[in-house]
């Protein structure tokens, strides 16, 4: 199924933007697809090891980090030449990670070992291993870098790991199979998506006496079985107003009004929508659609899908290079 394309006009009317490279990890074809963020043309597709999933980029835009899940390693690529530079010791089956805002260290979730591994990206050594719940997955870091959040899929918790001593300071129970965690840029709210529970938990991380679960956001789309409304990847705009939530097999992005904790709209995208990334100017949101082998470009202000771009097989993760 193809989306209506209104791209040409929309792009012509936009002010000239900096071209940024968009990197999409293709879980099945073992490649990274590189897309230009002004023309939305595919520039390149290069091999990235076995089963590339979580993907990130260093703050200077030089190094691309890719969880090669079936190789039990994080591969580091030159973001310009696409040459593999080295690997980082990640622990087995790395899936998602978060980078310290300074670019070092990297916090990796290891699903098989119930660990979060902290890796020094310069010295390329493991600094710490933190035992967490069963099947750790989602990773986030608070804007002040005090806490790294890990969500564990079978334990159904968000763990608050202190970045100073690597100890868990708080645990919050959420709904079944928490997949992804994201903070608002002002640090006032933490969202955790529960894939099987079908909800997004809203947590007040700054509450006196420790973080507290304040509410849960559910989803409802006419004509879609409730069990297929499975929230996964999320991104929040830096003005802290809008939260975008990928709903997996429901093939939609939910747009949530952050202040009201309420769904405002649903945007139809490709099939099995999984992870999301903004362009640095936050004009566009890119969604990976695993079962239709494409990415959808969403105009963030208009909250509309404007284009889809064919990528490799089963796109999973996406990251956009920062402005130079």
């Amino acid at each position: 199924m193809k989306l209506a394309i209104i791209t040409a006009l929309a792009l012509l009317l936009s002010p000239p933007a900096l071209a940024n490279k968009v990197y999409v990890s293709n879980e099945k074809s073992n490649t990274i697809t590189v897309i230009d963020s002004t023309s939305w043309e595919v520039l390149e597709e290069f091999p990235a090891g076995n089963r590339p999933r979580g993907i990130g980029i260093s703050p200077d835009g030089q190094h691309l980090y890719v969880c090669a899940s079936d190789d039990d390693t994080v591969r580091v690529f030159d973001a310009e030449t696409y040459q593999e530079l080295w690997t980082l010791p990640s622990g087995p089956d790395p899936e998602l990670f978060t980078l310290h805002p300074s670019g070092n260290p990297l916090y990796v979730a290891n699903e098989d070992d119930n660990l979060v591994t902290v890796v020094d990206t310069e010295k390329r050594v493991v600094i710490a291993e933190i035992p967490v719940g069963v099947e750790p997955e989602g990773m986030a870091i608070s804007p002040d870098s005090r806490f790294v959040i890990n969500t564990s899929e079978t334990t159904n918790m968000a763990h608050f790991i202190d970045t100073d001593d690597y100890k868990i300071k708080h645990n919050i129970l959420v709904d079944q199979r928490p997949r992804y965690a994201v903070y608002t840029d002002d640090g006032s709210k933490l969202f955790v998506s529960s894939e099987i529970g079908g909800t997004v938990s809203v947590i007040d991380p700054l509450k006196d006496g420790g973080p507290e679960l304040t509410s849960k956001i559910g989803f409802e789309v006419a004509g879609i079985q409730p069990e297929w409304l499975q929230p996964v990847g999320m991104k929040v705009t830096s003005d802290n107003k809008w939260l975008f939530v990928a709903l997996g097999p429901a093939n939609r992005i939910a747009v949530i009004d952050v202040e009201k904790n309420a769904v405002k709209d649903y945007i139809l995208v490709g099939q099995r929508v999984w992870q999301l990334a903004f362009t640095p100017d936050q004009k566009y949101l890119i969604t990976t659609n695993g079962n239709s082998n494409d990415v959808t470009i969403i105009d963030v202000d208009a909250q509309k899908a404007i284009k889809s771009v064919q990528v490799g097989q089963q796109p999973w993760g996406v990251v956009v290079a920062p402005d130079k």
């Binding site: 719940g133 899929e153 645990n171 099987i196 304040t214 849960k216 006419a222 297929w228 405002k264």
Partner: protein, 395 residues
């Protein structure tokens, strides 16, 4: 396209206390397995390991305990295997030991006997018996069924056949009562989904050893003859609970047709090659712990203990009445590596769950199939629906 946007907001009473070093709540569960005299299986892949079910329990308890550690809950499990004639005494010992939460792997008669002996102040989770009566006229208030019913399995197979447009079915069933019950379930499923059983044959269980040096030579001659001259059909359904002939049917039947049921494409709760929805992690954890591949019995005990663990974690209680009420409520949900939450049917205590269809190498498909809709949950297209059950114990 009309899209209705609505939000469900649930304000929560936050009663959770972060990591407490001292266990504030202790939960003890008994896993009771009744071992029957059985013949060797037709396939060596189905050999029964000594720790069948228990290994799944150990894994579940590790999973529960990891969460428990963060919440100050201590989970303990006692495992007992017993001969049928000792089952009652074994239960008595476990009860005397203070255990009032039990996971039971037993035949349906023994399960009913144990349930009645345990009494209503205890809670039993059925992790083996698939008989219809347990979910129907013989249901018990104190028994919840994590194991699927026969009807859930046969509905899963029949939905797939219908999705493939294999509407004409040749049903071959065994001669033992358990095979007859399975055949009944297939007849019911065919009627439910509009398939037609165009022919039925009985494969007599004449006993004999399961293992001969070149048995396949005889099988290759016998099965074509046995299946010769059947009315035109799209697929063969094997109803062979006794494991006598089902595995022999594929390739050997007279007409080249797909086989489903007890051979060919089989309905299972879990199998060792299932990888979707994060199941790979389950498989790796299990194999590391048990040193072998998972079997259905392991998964069903794992799931039963996870059901208990989840209820304990959410209610902060070990009281069977509190846990039962929570399990049967709308609030209960659990992820089970099947792509969607599993929940209980409040009318007969049956766990709703997708059924995997496997060719014994891969997950071929998962039922319910696309297009089978239900006003409550598509999972309720499998098994006994509320208006169909004679169970009144849950009212």
């Amino acid at each position: 396209m009309t899209i209705i946007c609505r939000i469900v907001m649930i304000m929560l009473l936050s009663t959770l206390i972060p990591t407490s070093p001292v266990a504030a709540l202790e939960v003890r569960v008994g896993v009771l397995r009744v071992d029957y005299q059985t013949q060797l299986p037709t396939s060596r892949y189905d050999l029964r390991p000594e720790d069948l079910g228990f290994a799944g329990g150990i894994l579940a308890n590790e999973d529960n305990q990891t969460t428990g550690t963060f919440l100050g809950i201590e989970f303990g499990v006692e495992y007992m295997a017993s001969a049928p004639e000792e089952a009652e005494a074994t239960l008595d010992r476990m009860m005397a030991d203070g255990i009032d939460l039990l996971v039971v792997m037993a035949g349906s008669d023994d399960l009913l006997m144990l349930a009645d002996r345990a009494g209503e102040q205890r809670l039993l989770l059925n992790a083996a018996a698939r008989d219809m009566g347990l979910r129907d006229g013989q249901c018990r208030t104190n028994v919840l069924h994590v194991a699927p019913s026969l009807a859930m399995l046969t509905d899963a197979v029949t939905q797939f056949a219908m999705w493939k447009k294999w509407t004409g079915l040749f049903l071959i069933h065994g001669s033992n009562p358990a095979d007859q019950a399975l055949a009944d379930a297939y007849r019911r499923s065919a009627q439910k989904f509009g398939a037609e059983i165009v022919e039925e044959r009985i494969f007599e269980d004449t006993g004999g050893s399961r293992r001969t040096d070149t048995g396949h030579v005889l099988v290759q001659r016998q099965i074509p003859v046995f299946t010769q001259g059947a009315r035109a059909h799209d697929a063969v359904i094997a109803a062979d609970s006794s494991d006598v002939f089902g595995l022999y049917l594929p390739y050997h039947i007279w007409d080249p047709r797909p086989v489903l049921g007890s051979g060919g494409l089989r309905p299972v709760t879990f199998h060792p090659a299932h990888e979707a929805w994060g199941a790979t992690q389950f498989q790796r954890r299990f194999e590391k712990l048990a040193g072998r591949f998972v079997q259905e019995g392991d998964y069903e005990v794992w799931l039963s203990l996870r059901v208990i663990g989840e209820a304990v974690i959410r209610t902060n209680s070990a009281d069977p009445a509190v846990l039962r009420e929570y399990m049967l409520s709308d609030a209960f949900e659990l992820a089970a590596f099947k792509g969607r939450k599993v929940t209980f049917r409040p009318w007969n205590g049956q766990l709703r769950q997708p059924i995997i269809l496997t060719d014994s190498r891969l997950t071929v498909s998962v039922s319910p199939q696309e297009g089978y809709l239900h006003q409550r949950s598509t999972l309720d297209t499998l098994g006994l629906d509320e208006p169909e059950t004679a169970c009144t114990a849950f009212k």
